[in-house]
């Protein structure tokens, strides 16, 4: 076995609907070492959040993990019993939720919401120890320990998100998943929250999966970036590789579509629409978008060290001319 903190192999998650399976995650694999930060990027409906749910095993029917393995250190999470999985949440793998504004129980004080999590993982403290622990936890996310005595509605959005981060790291998990942790915050608070997240993650040495579609934030935060498209991971590589040498046509277009800070130019979008994931045909999904077809199995190709793409023979040069222009 490897000594990756998190290793996902050939993960397939389907939503079973009356119209057939929606292949939300189709054969995704990636590895994360200790302390490594992966940014998962993709448009809405590309399966990013489904991956996050599957990693926590918190997906709800009709979603079913069809295949694959999620290895946290040496344990495959998919083999754990329901009760052991519950204990692994937060202590082994934790998730910072998407809706920071509403992720805290409105009728309970912050202290209780932190302590609930500790006691359900059989952490027993003496009272004084507990207070020290809570105070240090709050300070680690740059919050005043007085926040513990407040109710969620007495906090600002950024403070709430910090509380969520504090709860997520309270049991020192090996892996932290952050599903658009800053989506409800304004830009300045976003940056502060991401910096806090970065700091606590480095202190813990935990691997981190950051999900979002803010390329700027990703570039700032992540070590590695994975590009999701139509349920598949189409390209993964270091931040440098992805931004300097985007190789999959979708990645290329995605990066081109970012506004330029150096000079004015018209914004460029990606033509077409992503294909419906319902009964998606095997083969290259990006070809479908540009009205071509490739039904063959698309191979993973390592184009430089640790930089992989799904290389399709038909569409891989699409849009390249434009880049050169």
């Amino acid at each position: 076995m490897t000594n990756f903190a998190l290793s996902v192999e050939n993960l397939k998650v389907y939503y079973h609907t009356s119209g057939g399976p929606v292949k939300a995650v189709e054969g995704v694999s990636f590895n994360l070492s200790k302390g490594e930060k992966l940014g998962l990027v993709g448009e809405s409906g590309s399966g990013k959040s489904t991956i996050a749910l599957a990693l926590m095993r918190s997906h709800k029917p009709p979603a079913i993990i069809e295949e694959g393995s999620i290895n946290l250190g040496q344990t495959n999470l998919l083999d754990l019993s329901e009760e052991n999985m519950r204990k692994t949440r937060l202590s082994g793998i934790s998730m910072i939720p998407q809706g920071a504004m509403n992720s805290l129980n409105p009728v309970a004080r912050i202290r209780k919401q932190v302590v609930d999590a500790l006691s359900d993982h059989s952490f027993k403290f003496k009272k004084a120890e507990r207070e020290t622990f809570l105070r240090e936890l709050m300070e680690s996310v740059e919050l005043d320990p007085k926040v513990l005595n407040l109710f969620p509605h007495e906090l600002s959005g950024g403070m709430k998100q910090r509380v969520c981060i504090a709860i997520s790291i309270s049991l020192k998990p090996q892996v932290i998943i952050a599903d658009e942790p800053t989506s409800a915050l304004d830009v300045i608070v976003q940056r502060q929250v991401i910096e806090t997240l970065s700091k606590v993650q480095e202190e813990l040495g935990a691997a981190c999966v950051l999900i979002g579609h803010d390329m700027g934030l990703m570039a700032q935060f992540a070590d590695k970036i994975g590009i999701m498209y139509a349920g598949k991971l189409v390209e993964i590589g270091s931040v440098n590789d992805i931004f300097k040498n985007p190789t999959h046509p979708y990645t290329r277009l995605l990066i081109e579509s970012l506004p330029d800070t150096k000079g004015k130019r018209p914004l460029i979008g990606i033509p077409g629409l992503p294909p419906s994931l319902l009964n998606l045909a095997p083969g290259c999904s990006f070809c479908l978008r540009i009205e071509k077809e490739n039904r063959k199995e698309i191979p993973w190709v390592e184009i430089s060290k640790d930089h992989f793409i799904q290389k399709c023979d038909i569409c891989s040069d699409y849009g390249k001319v434009k880049t050169k222009k």
Binding site: F151, H153, S168
Partner: protein, 335 residues
């Protein structure tokens, strides 16, 4: 909770009562008929006598009832009586109305508040369980069946129960609040008798209102389960029971509590039909007697009593609400 909050709520409570009691005064006086004249002519017609000095009699009676005074003075007198809890005397046997009310109210309060609380607790628990995906099949099949009972009017169910448990299997008494041979004092015999007499009237109310509470709670619980804090509670690796109770039910209950307060407040109006069917000596029965014998004083007295108690119940809930939902108090301070 601060003093200002309590004071504000109390003033609101007083305002509600003043308005309601005043309306109670105005409505009968909106009619342009003279009640005494009406009554005397009616009596005269019944007696078949042609009374000569009718006008004088009317004057005398009007003076006796204070109806000869200007309206504002009548209003002041009326308030004077209300504050002293003097609602006049019943027409039937001239006992003071307040005595009648005080005699009946405990039975109604006792029986109906227990019934309401039981229905609330059972209905709320069932409703929450129905919405919870991991609930066993037994509850999911049995409870909707129970909820169909809420489509049956409680007085009909009451009649069915009388037939079943008092006539077909005579195991429960049909009427009254306690047995004839039992002396009304604190004894085990008395307590058992009171309970056995209350089972059927309370049971018919409980069975028919569980559905109401259950459906309300189920809806609220489903909404709550879609909230982000429920998802985060799961990511936190909390135990199932804790997520269900402290995060789910605790939040979904808030509107239910308001509902409970309102129904506890309206209890004093009694479930008239239930009390009549089971000849239960409560306020509902008293109101029924008052209406059927045109006893205006008794009716008016019961009305005021109900208004005040409903207002009071809401006042108490207003005081308790900040304890249940911490967001309430804050909004009050900000406004």
């Amino acid at each position: 909770m601060n003093a200002e909050y309590v004071l504000k709520r109390f003033l609101l409570f007083l305002a509600v009562i003043v308005v309601a009691v005043s309306i109670n005064f105005i409505i009968p006086r909106l009619r342009d008929t003279n009640p005494i004249k009406e009554r005397l002519y009616q009596l005269a017609a019944q007696g078949g006598v042609n009374v000569g000095k009718m006008e004088e009699m009317i004057e005398v009676w009007e003076k006796k009832f204070g109806l000869d005074q200007p309206l504002w003075k009548q209003y002041i007198n009326y308030w004077n009586d209300v504050i002293r809890l003097d609602f006049g005397k019943t027409i039937a046997d001239f006992t003071p109305v307040i005595n009648e009310i005080m005699r009946s109210a405990p039975w109604t309060i006792g029986m109906l508040s227990v019934a309401t609380v039981i229905a609330f607790v059972v209905g709320t628990v069932f409703g929450a369980l129905l919405a919870w995906p991991k609930t066993g099949n037994f509850v999911k099949i049995f409870v909707p069946f129970l909820m169909t009972l809420s489509a049956i009017p409680y007085y009909l169910l009451g009649i069915v129960m009388i037939y079943t448990f008092a006539i077909y299997w005579p195991i429960l008494p049909t009427s009254g609040a306690y047995g004839f041979g039992v002396r009304p004092e604190w004894s085990i015999e008395m307590v058992l008798s009171v309970i056995s007499h209350a089972i059927m009237p309370a049971g018919s109310i409980v069975l028919t209102s569980i559905g109401f509470w259950g459906l309300g709670m189920r809806g609220m619980m489903i909404t709550t389960m879609g909230e982000d804090y429920m998802k985060f509670a799961e990511y936190k690796g909390l135990k199932e029971n804790r997520i269900f109770l402290s995060y789910g039910v605790r939040n979904a209950m808030l509107p239910q509590v308001t509902g409970l307060a309102i129904s506890l407040g309206t209890i004093l109006a009694g479930s008239v039909l239930v009390e009549v069917i089971f000849a239960y000596p409560g306020l509902g029965n008293l109101l029924y007697t008052a209406i059927s014998s045109n006893d205006y004083f008794l009716m008016q007295g019961i009305m005021i009593f109900v208004i005040v108690s409903l207002g009071f119940a809401l006042f108490v809930v207003d005081l308790l609400y900040p304890l249940i939902d911490p967001r309430i108090n804050l909004q009050e301070q900000q406004s």
